[in-house]
């Protein structure tokens, strides 16, 4: 018994991820935590997307199930689980069954290497970014098989569009990533890293987020990735594979109930996954804003208060809306529910002020906040842009993004090569 406790405790002081430290217990804990957190994030994202999109479009969105429709995603999930599971008579049953599983597995597996903090990742691979890109591109396999197994025209067209789109955009995306990996090698040893944690540490060591490195090269690379990641996840304005007005629902037209919800889950977790890549590679991962400019214990304290303050702010919004709820007895349970939700958020917020907790969650908070900003962008795009046509999409991918990303790669290499001599020359001149 004592040995087990010791085994569990032995990790606590470590500065490695549980995977790298080889501690099975904490690995398991992290896997469960990431999986639960992701599920909650997808549910929250579902609600937020509907609400934010609704408010952009002068309507209210879900309002009936729970206060301000807060329970709507749960109601939807229940409905999907209870629905009849329909499989077309002409479908290939095994492939039809496999396709959503492949997509979901690919979408969830990438989170193995996502660094929520210097130690907060399931594991740290030395090929982390390669692993993420590789596994996330496996989901195209699931989409193609889904379209093919449905044995129907519209899903087939959706699947073909999807595979062409994801493969073309992966090229530009990969080149943008390579330019970041080049940047990580600009240190004394001259050795770069593919590890997700290593990339963030490189940004910390160089004292700049890679989005601002070699201005505007980092920014252009980031922009290319930001465009390609929207295409990669099949979201508006690149949502051709599921273009509702053309192909009804694209590759998942024939899917219903639980299988359909797996596609839904995969789409949202893929969005979170690619956003985490963008955050890790360009926006400094878990690093708080201005870690070098605004340093010192005072600023550390100020920034460490952010998580708690954010939760208290959400709680305050809940309480404000509780006060605004209709006073009719029919709304009594809803009002109580909203107040209770506010209390829970407030308690979490207060808990985040406790010093040891405060120091541990700061990284996770900044990482999640940056990812959340990307999630908002996804919703914003959807509310603003019309949909590209297939040939235009290909044109943007191959004729615009690919040449630019190649140019960025070459220029980054040149900039990295001449940076040190240039600085030396500059210091002599001045």
């Amino acid at each position: 018994m004592g040995e087990i406790v010791q085994y569990i405790q032995s990790y606590l002081g470590s500065d490695k991820t549980p995977g790298a430290a080889g501690n099975l217990f904490w690995e398991f804990v992290y896997i469960v935590a990431v999986f639960l957190g992701l599920s909650v994030a997808v549910i929250a994202m579902n609600w937020l997307e509907r609400k934010i999109l609704a408010h952009m479009q002068v309507r209210l969105g879900p309002m009936r199930v729970g206060p301000h429709g807060l329970l709507q995603p749960i109601a939807d999930a229940l409905k999907l689980l209870l629905k009849e599971d329909i499989m077309p008579a002409e479908a290939d049953p095994f492939v039809f069954w496999m396709a959503p599983l492949i997509v979901v597995l690919a979408a969830f597996t990438v989170f193995v290497v996502v660094p929520f903090g210097p130690t907060h990742a399931i594991t740290d691979m030395n090929i982390g970014i390669l692993f993420m890109l590789g596994v996330s591109s496996l989901s195209v396999l699931g989409i193609v098989t889904a379209g093919w197994a449905s044995n129907s025209h519209y899903p087939m067209m959706g699947a073909l569009r999807s595979s062409a789109q994801m493969i073309s955009y992966e090229v530009a995306m990969g080149l943008a990533v390579v330019s970041v990996i080049l940047m990580t090698s600009l240190n004394d040893t001259g050795i770069g890293t593919l590890s997700m944690i290593g990339i963030v540490r490189a940004q910390q060591a160089q004292g700049v987020w890679f989005v601002f490195k070699f201005f505007p090269l980092g920014l252009v690379g980031f922009f290319i990735f930001a465009v390609a990641m929207v295409a990669e996840t099949n979201r508006a304005p690149f949502d051709l594979p599921e273009a509702e007005s053309e192909l009804t629902a694209g590759f998942h037209t024939e899917y219903s109930g639980f299988r359909w919800s797996l596609f839904f889950l995969a789409e949202y977790s893929a969005m979170i996954a690619v956003s985490s890549i963008a955050v890790t590679l360009w926006l400094g991962g878990w690093l708080r804003p201005f870690p070098n400019l605004l340093n010192g214990p005072t600023w550390d304290l100020v920034f460490s208060l952010f998580p708690g303050v954010t939760f208290l702010f959400f709680a305050a919004i809940c309480f404000y809306n509780t006060a605004r709820m209709p006073k009719h007895p029919l709304f009594k349970i809803q009002t109580m529910g909203l107040a209770g939700f506010g209390v829970v958020l407030g308690l979490i917020g207060l808990a985040l002020f406790i010093p040891p907790v405060r120091d541990r969650v700061g990284d996770i908070f900044w990482f999640c906040a940056k990812v959340a900003a990307f999630m908002y962008l996804y919703i914003w795009y959807r509310g603003t842009f019309p949909r590209y046509r297939f040939d235009q999409l290909m044109k943007v991918g191959w004729k615009v993004l690919l040449p630019i990303s190649l140019a960025v790669l070459v220029l980054t290499a040149i900039a990295g090569f001449v940076e040190a001599p240039f600085k030396e020359w500059l210091s002599q001149v001045l």
Binding site: Q57, V58, Y154, M157, A243, E246, G383, P386, R389
Partner: protein, 383 residues
């Protein structure tokens, strides 16, 4: 590969030709499809994403409106015309009432004419707003739909106050109006005009210079003026091809000759030009409404029309500029209380003919854009 221009849509009828042909895919778009605006069925013949030929199958909403007319009196048939182009019910009513008035040889009094023009132009705006919202939705921009419906609501509120109905208004009667305009009608219309002017800029802000919107619509579904005339295409589709033909100017009816307005025309005859023409028509409609509201004269609202309408033996054709194009009514009277024959020339039906010409050789996504830009209402196509 066969040249798409040599293919006829009739080739679709011979299935052996496409049987086991790996290059071509025959796909049924509709009648249950989100982008066909109702129950239009389009049989598409695709080579990959390219449209090699298409055929429209219509009739899913056929209610035999023209036949019903033969068993109703002239007054009784009036509400039926609202159900044809249900998004522009007031225009239909105007067309029908004016045709019967022409048959009877009466004319609505000036006050009725002015109110008719105001309501018809409001309805033109409502129809264009519905077109813009659904067209943008088809192309993938979901937000304009909600903006246009928010503003269309204000028009429907005016209709509701005027005659009690929002959609199938039955606003006009043969010989004029049944109801006097409600108190504050003019003030409310003026308020609406002031309200909607900045909103039109808002729609344009979202779309007109939007790069994706321009790429999706420019050069898509191009049709030349010659083809338009050959196919009998009218309305904004014809005007976008550069033909300055608007029945409000060409054969002034109601009292349109009293108002000062322009006919916006396009150059290229593509989807983008049709969009621009309709956006300009919004503003022209507002101009007409402003002039009409200021000029409503006092006086009776109903001409001297007998209780039982028995037109003399004869036939008449009269057409008006509905939001979608030329809406014509051909009525044959045998001297009884019921028309012997009513034939409607619906703009949607005639314009839909151009779909095949406009889509051939383009991509699947363009078919959606072109169906949207033709602005068809299946209730009117099938009648």
């Amino acid at each position: 590969m066969t040249d798409p221009n040599t293919l006829s849509p009739l080739d679709l009828d011979t299935p052996d030709k496409t049987f086991l042909d790996a290059n071509e895919l025959v796909i049924n778009m509709g009648p249950q499809h989100p982008a066909t605006h109702g129950v239009l069925r389009v049989i598409l013949r695709l080579d990959g994403e390219k449209v090699m030929g298409l055929e429209c199958v219509i009739g899913y909403l056929h209610r035999g409106v023209e036949k019903i007319a033969e068993h109703r009196t002239y007054t009784m048939f009036n509400p039926y015309v609202d159900r044809m182009d249900y998004v522009a019910a007031v225009s239909n009513g105007l067309g029908y009432c004016e045709t019967v008035e022409k048959l009877l040889g009466v004319e609505a009094p000036p006050r009725a004419q002015y109110i008719r023009v105001i309501l018809t132009e409001l309805n033109r705006m409502a129809s264009h707003q519905l077109w813009l919202g659904t067209h943008a939705l088809d192309i993938g921009a979901i937000t304009p739909l909600f903006y246009t419906f928010r503003d269309r609501e204000e028009i429907l509120k005016i209709f509701e106050k005027f005659c009690g109905a929002r959609l199938t208004t039955h606003a006009f009667r043969i010989g004029g109006l049944l109801y006097e305009a409600y108190e504050g009608f003019e003030k409310e219309v003026k308020k609406f005009v002031a309200f909607v002017k900045p909103k039109i800029d808002e729609y344009e802000e979202l779309l007109t210079t939007n790069r994706i919107w321009v790429e999706r619509t420019k050069g898509v579904g191009t049709i030349s003026a010659k083809d338009c005339i050959a196919l009998g295409v009218t309305g904004p589709v014809l005007r976008a091809s550069g033909v300055k033909w608007d029945l409000r100017k060409a054969q002034p009816y109601a009292n349109y000759k009293n108002f000062d307005f322009d006919i916006p025309i396009g150059v290229n005859g593509d989807t983008y030009d049709r969009y621009l023409v309709r956006m300009a028509e919004f503003r022209q409609s507002l101009r007409i409404i402003e002039q009409a509201v200021d000029g409503i004269p006092e006086g009776p609202i109903m001409a001297k029309v007998p209780k039982v309408i028995k037109p003399p033996v004869g036939e008449v054709y009269h057409s008006i500029e509905a939001p979608k194009g030329e809406l014509g009514f051909f009525i044959v009277s045998d001297g009884s209380t019921q028309p012997y024959r009513v034939r409607v020339r619906p703009p949607s039906f005639v314009n839909l003919q151009a779909l095949e010409l406009m889509c051939r050789g383009q991509l699947v996504a363009d078919v959606i854009a072109v169906i949207g830009t033709l602005d068809i209402v299946l209730g009117e196509v099938d009648r």
